[in-house]
């Protein structure tokens, strides 16, 4: 199997969709000549031209809103919001328009829009270029929310998002762009709403998203040395959520840790914990542990940044706490 970086995998899905389907086009800030602030769309302007790879003004509301309008008219736009933090500027269109058109119209309208965005700490961007806001959107009926952690997943899930008839918030993690991974020769769509079991285990399930999937896998290796067998599950799609896979895993292991880079309070881990306690209450041998960032805007100085966001050691400690309950 060929190897791609996470960045190349995103680009590969975009390129294939642009090649095969005239309805697909890209809009966003600096995505054309510059190739995007994360270099994801590099080379696409040259191949597809300025009609289909569109630089926009710095107008997040209009970027998302015009994507919605074009989607309703039968296009399949993929718009890029440069940083997740800037989703705040397009919230009205995402939450009041994209998510609600279908219901408000009594089923007349479809909004096949994909909103790609990225964020994440680990490079001292400060408080306004690194948030992890995915949980906000899980609270909005009508949206779908994807957060991929590997090159294979990001490619297959982006494809499925573009071809989903609903608005999809597609989260990428800044620090994952350079990671490499094997991908199938031909792009294989990965259905939305299907979790991936990265590692099977017997004693504890870690349900992790984004960068924390990789941290959880490191923590699992560490725990293995202590004789604790850890299963790592990545939901990949947060909305809709593959509750079945997650609950089955916890029923097997009887212990669970949730892990994401977003702040713990009100984070996606809270939703996971609620789903798991309901679906596996009689199987649980320990309280569900939640791993996430400390409750603070992300500080700039590297030592403070590293203190706030979670790492493999935090997941490891949480695993230890669940097994300590006997």
């Amino acid at each position: 199997m060929p190897e791609l970086t996470y960045r190349e995998a995103v680009r590969d899905a975009l390129r294939k969709a642009l090649r095969e389907d005239e309805r697909v086009f890209l809009m966003g800030e600096d995505i054309a000549e510059m190739g995007g602030s994360m270099a994801v769309t590099q080379g696409l302007l040259e191949e597809f031209g300025p009609q289909r790879v569109r630089n926009t003004p710095i107008s997040e509301m209009a970027i998302v809103g015009s994507g919605i309008g074009a989607a309703i008219q039968g296009m399949r736009p993929v718009v890029e919001i440069m940083y997740e933090d800037f989703l705040t500027l397009s919230m009205e269109q995402l939450v009041n328009q994209a998510a609600k058109h279908r219901t408000m119209s009594g089923g007349q309208v479809r909004v096949p829009l994909t909103v790609r965005t990225q964020g994440g700490a680990g490079w001292s961007p400060g408080a306004q270029h690194a948030q992890q806001l995915e949980a906000w959107f899980v609270h909005v009926p009508g949206l779908k929310v994807v957060f991929a952690s590997t090159p294979e997943d990001v490619r297959g899930l982006l494809w499925s998002s573009i071809y989903d008839d609903n608005p999809v918030l597609f989260f990428e993690h800044r620090t994952l762009y350079p990671i490499k991974g094997e991908v199938p020769e031909e792009l294989e769509p990965i259905p939305l709403g299907k979790a991936r079991v990265h590692r099977e285990g017997e004693d504890v399930t870690v349900v992790a998203t984004g960068r924390l999937v990789h941290e959880a896998l490191r923590a699992a290796e560490e725990a293995e040395r202590d004789g604790v067998s850890v299963e790592v599950v990545d939901p990949r799609t947060l909305l809709p959520l593959d509750e079945e896979t997650i609950i089955a895993s916890v029923r097997k292991t009887t212990r669970c840790v949730t892990a994401h880079e977003a702040v713990t309070r009100g984070g996606f881990g809270a939703e996971l914990a609620a789903v798991i306690q309901h679906g596996a209450f009689d199987w649980l041998d320990a309280p569900i542990e939640r791993v996430g960032a400390k409750f603070a805007p992300l500080p700039f100085a590297p030592v403070m940044e590293q203190y706030v966001v979670p790492h493999a050691e935090d997941v490891y400690e949480a695993i230890r706490r669940t097994v300590a309950r006997g």
């Binding site: 209009a62 309008g69 008219q73 328009q97 609903n166």
Partner: protein
């Protein structure tokens, strides 16, 4: 600035008396529909709350008459007139206000979310300026596919103070999109007068087009013929590839912001003066010198249509509660 003075279509065709009479009929239908809706609301038959556009009928009628069936619109919270003028039958609108399955949004939308994709109504919108960017996107789709269609957004003077308005017009002009931005300037942002929300005189609001290098077309929004001709010119310009148009129409809201609004903020004498002198229906009726019996017949006809719509709506089907979840996802 272009002011449409000459009373002919592009190409020189004057409007016939029959055409003007059909405009009058539609405006009166909208008026009687909204009066009925107010009445039924006060009688406690309609859930939610309502905004009527009494006094603004010439804008809806004139603009939508200039649009083709395949053109699309986005409307506002004051939406009944736009929906009727774009072609949704009044019984389907009335059924929507009663929350019935037969409604134009199948009972999921209500007064502020009237949709009818078949006639190109992409939806009324309860967020001020919320529908404008979607129109930019629709126009973009038409342009990319080479379709000779325009997308038109209705919004009020209050909406011109939002970032959404600015971002949308800026983008539409940048890409020379076939869009018409219909500014229904009634001088009120809910209860706040233009003097408290605009840093320029209310009648000069069209000047904002200059900030985007956008074509401005202005007309008296109480004169349906002027509105129609201005909208035709706007549509033609938008389709020509020269870019979008800000269509600035000065109009008057002869009622409160919502049904039941006591309008404590409004000068009663000024309102009385506007009613006496700026009612678009009275203005056209006078211009046509319609005989009393002709007027009475017209009124009886549209009133009967509205009564039939109420009967249709009341006999409509209540949605099943569990159908609430039916259209969350496609």
């Amino acid at each position: 600035m272009t002011t449409v003075e000459e009373r002919t279509e592009p190409g020189g065709r004057p409007l016939s008396r029959d055409e003007l009479r059909s405009f009058l009929r539609e405006m009166l239908l909208i008026r009687r529909f909204e009066e009925k809706v107010e009445e039924r609301f006060r009688a406690g038959e309609l859930p939610g709350f309502l905004h009527v556009a009494i006094g603004q009928e010439a804008v809806a009628t004139g603009v939508c008459a200039a649009l083709a069936r395949e053109d699309v619109i986005a409307s506002t919270h004051r939406a009944h007139g736009h929906a009727i003028a774009k072609g949704t039958p009044v019984e389907r609108l009335m059924a929507e206000l009663y929350g019935k399955v037969e409604g134009c949004s199948r009972g999921y939308g209500g007064s502020m979310h009237l949709y009818d994709l078949e006639v190109g109504n992409l939806g009324a919108n309860a967020v001020v300026a919320g529908g404008i960017p979607g129109i930019v996107g629709a126009a973009l789709a038409f342009q990319m596919r080479g379709e000779a269609r325009v997308a038109a957004a209705f919004f009020g003077d209050g909406a011109t103070n939002t970032g959404t308005f600015h971002e949308s017009l800026n983008l539409a002009q940048l890409w020379k999109l076939p869009a018409v931005f219909v500014l229904e300037n009634n001088g009120w942002a809910e209860s706040t007068p233009a003097s408290q929300h605009l840093p320029l005189p209310v009648e000069k609001l069209g000047k904002r087009a200059a900030a985007y290098g956008m074509k401005l077309i202005e007309a008296d929004g109480q004169d349906v013929e002027a509105v129609y001709l201005a909208a035709l010119a706007a549509r033609e310009h938008a389709l020509s590839g020269k870019g979008p148009v800000l269509l600035h129409l000065r109009t008057y809201r002869l009622t409160g912001h919502y049904v039941g609004d006591p309008q404590v903020y409004r000068d009663k004498e000024e309102l009385a003066r506007e009613r006496a002198t700026r009612d678009p229906i009275e203005l056209l009726k006078a211009r046509l010198e319609l005989p009393d019996d002709d007027w009475a017949a017209l009124d009886a006809e549209v009133t009967a249509e509205v009564e039939a719509a109420v009967a249709f709506a009341k006999a409509g089907t209540d949605p099943k509660p569990e159908d609430a979840l039916k259209y969350v996802y496609a």
